[in-house]
């Protein structure tokens, strides 16, 4: 049995089952009285909380390497709290600072996981913090 057989076997069944599923969905759709509207409005892309939330987390995971853990996490928590309709500004600032710091202490200090330092002056700052 070579390296290819198992994946071929799996993907073979997968294709059959997905075909079956598509067939099922089409049948169900035909039966529906009020046909569902599948068009996505351009406007809803910018107001949909799921899309915005995913973008915030996505951007966060992308900037971690450059901005470092500290700065990107503070920004992330602040923005995500805003998305969850938190209105109190001071509360948001305090929470993002405290949460970032607590997780930093737990992981970087207690569990000794080297968190991303970022580049440039942010890296210098992170290194300075680690010497404390």
């Amino acid at each position: 049995m070579g390296s290819g057989l198992w994946p071929q076997f799996l993907l073979g069944i997968l294709i059959v089952l997905i075909a079956l599923n598509i067939f099922n969905s089409i049948r169900k759709y035909r039966k529906e009285e009020n046909k569902r509207d599948f068009s996505i409005s351009f406007h809803s892309l910018f107001t949909n909380k799921l899309v915005i939330g995913s973008i915030i987390i996505g951007v966060y995971s992308l900037i971690l390497d450059y901005f470092g853990y500290l700065l990107s996490t503070i920004l992330f928590i602040f923005l995500y709290m805003t998305l969850l309709s938190e209105k109190r500004l001071v509360f948001k600032i305090v929470t993002s600072l405290v949460a970032t710091l607590v997780i930093y202490i737990i992981f970087a200090r207690v569990l000794q996981v080297p968190l991303p330092r970022g580049i440039g002056i942010l890296r210098d700052f992170a290194l300075l913090l680690e010497t404390l």
Binding site: P7, N21, K49, G53, S61
Partner: protein, 497 residues
């Protein structure tokens, strides 16, 4: 036997490990009690804390989180009619009416004591059954092991019987994703598209953290839910069951403990099914079934005993066969693999301390959690008052840091993100992320054993599959997979005529 037991307690009662178990119990109960944070999420979020522990302490720690999360879920079920984890759903039937009648303290007491009894009974059952099962499995060759792993996959059909086709597709996607990276026999890279990062395969932990933790936050971002109820700003005390009252309910407790343990051992059926079935059995066997749903203490006792007993049961296939029976145990298996532990029938033969360590942890946790839960129930309204705008981002933050800490690279963080969004799409479209994760965990075990068996048989696949045990297991598996289809067909035929 005695030596085995002392070795387990020696590991758990070592100060640093013991502190971690206490920590696990507190976190488990709080996470379990918070609506929208299930036991799988609790276990997934705690995995990063095990990276620096020894393997035995890791599994003991995660077991403690799992057990206490199921218990914590009962608190919310009783006070707010919201099951903290799906396994606590039947607790709401009688626990919430009890609370409304002013007997919240009693309901909580029953839930805690019964949870502890259920957990401890199942821990003993695990201790006795696991070695038997693993020595039976040790006589197995790779052909049989393949069948056993494949049997674990038949779980897929029982996970969500409403949508078998989509569940199967999800499981197969998981199995296919597991083939990415070096193949387990010849080391040929597959589906790596020339990327060196993919040679090691898709790391399982970030996928699980994404699907079980961040997906849940995305869900609540779109559809936030509010908790309401008279207990939101009230201090709640707990009245523990007296020994006399416990003895009065001995049949309920004993039956539920046995049922829960057995159901927990079965692949795919975990705390949720155990809770529901044992509640149903309690109603059926009661002389006064009309009391149920209106605040019958036995209803709370039956559910809470059984769902905690299922935790011990689910550790049996995990420890003796290396096959997870559900979400939480799938996470535990991958946490062990991460530490380089060879899960499988050899595990408790060569390192019995894994069995005794888990046993000791379950005993200690089940006793500790009663004390911790009484304290937490008192300040529970304060915990619930924590706005989701804080909890949500903190869960994501823990997920990000946890995925990063795996190999200290942000690639795993991005993978976790993709898994989270995929998990959300799966929920919306009726697919099963639990099935995908199970496929991902079992994929390698399935393939490597099958291919080893075929190699031993000189390439004759048919002779491998027709070995007696293998064939029996595969046929059972096929029946389990086809049965829901047949039922659906039967139902739709009936509906037509």
């Amino acid at each position: 036997m005695l030596e085995l037991l002392t070795s387990g307690f020696a590991v758990i009662l070592e100060p640093s490990a013991f502190i971690m178990i206490i920590f696990a119990t507190i976190v488990g109960i709080i996470f379990g009690a918070l609506p929208g944070v299930g036991s799988a999420m609790a276990v997934a979020l705690m995995v990063p804390f095990t990276y620096k522990m020894g393997p035995v302490v890791s599994i003991a720690f995660l077991t403690a989180v799992y057990c206490s999360a199921i218990t914590g879920g009962g608190i919310t079920a009783i006070l707010f009619k919201i099951p903290g984890t799906p396994g606590n759903t039947p607790t709401t039937f009688d626990g919430y009416p009890m609370a409304q009648q002013g007997r919240a303290d009693k309901a909580l007491g029953i839930a805690l004591v019964c949870s502890a009894i259920g957990g401890i009974v199942s821990a003993f059952a695990m201790l006795l059954i696991s070695p038997q099962l693993s020595s039976a499995a040790l006589r197995f060759g790779p052909a049989e092991l393949f069948a056993v792993a494949f049997f674990g996959l038949s779980v897929l059909s029982s996970l969500d019987s409403n949508n078998v086709l989509k569940t199967l597709i999800s499981g197969l996607i998981g199995l296919s994703l597991a083939t990415v990276g070096m193949d387990p026999i010849f080391g040929v890279p597959r589906f790596t598209w020339g990327h060196s990062a993919l040679v090691g395969g898709i790391p399982m932990i970030p996928v699980m953290i994404g699907m079980f933790a961040v997906t849940e936050v995305l869900k609540q971002t779109v559809n936030p839910f509010k908790i309401e109820g008279e207990f939101l700003n009230k201090k709640v005390s707990t009245k523990l069951l007296t020994i006399k009252e416990t003895i009065a309910m001995k049949i309920t407790i004993l039956r539920s403990a046995v049922m829960g343990t057995v159901i927990g051992i079965l692949p795919g059926a975990g705390a949720t099914i155990a809770g529901f079935l044992s509640y149903a059995a309690e109603v059926k066997s009661s002389k006064t079934p009309e009391r149920f749903g209106k605040g019958a203490p036995e209803g709370v006792a039956a559910t809470e005993t059984a769902n905690n007993a299922a935790t011990g049961g689910s550790m049996v296939p995990l420890l003796s066969l290396g096959i997870p029976g559900g979400n939480s145990s799938a996470i535990m298996v991958s946490a062990l693999m991460l530490q380089g532990v060879q899960v499988g029938p050899m595990l408790i033969k060569t390192q019995p301390v894994f069995l005794s360590g888990v046993f000791a942890s379950m005993i200690v946790t089940n006793i500790l959690m009663v004390i911790v839960a009484i304290g937490i129930a008192k300040v529970f309204s304060k915990i619930l008052n924590m706005p989701y705008s804080v909890l949500g981002p903190v869960i994501i933050l823990l997920s990000v840091v946890g995925s990063f800490a795996l190999q200290n690279n942000t690639g795993d963080v991005r993978l976790m993100m993709v898994a989270a969004i995929l998990g959300y799409a799966f929920i919306k479209l009726g697919f099963s992320s639990a099935a995908l994760v199970l496929g991902l965990v079992l994929g390698d075990i399935c393939e490597s054993n099958l291919r080893r068996a075929v190699m031993i048989a000189d390439g004759d696949i048919l002779s491998v599959l027709s070995r007696p045990i293998t064939a029996t297991l595969l046929i059972t598996c096929a029946i389990l997979l086809i049965l829901p289809f047949a039922r659906q067909l039967y139902k739709s035929k009936k509906a037509l005529s």
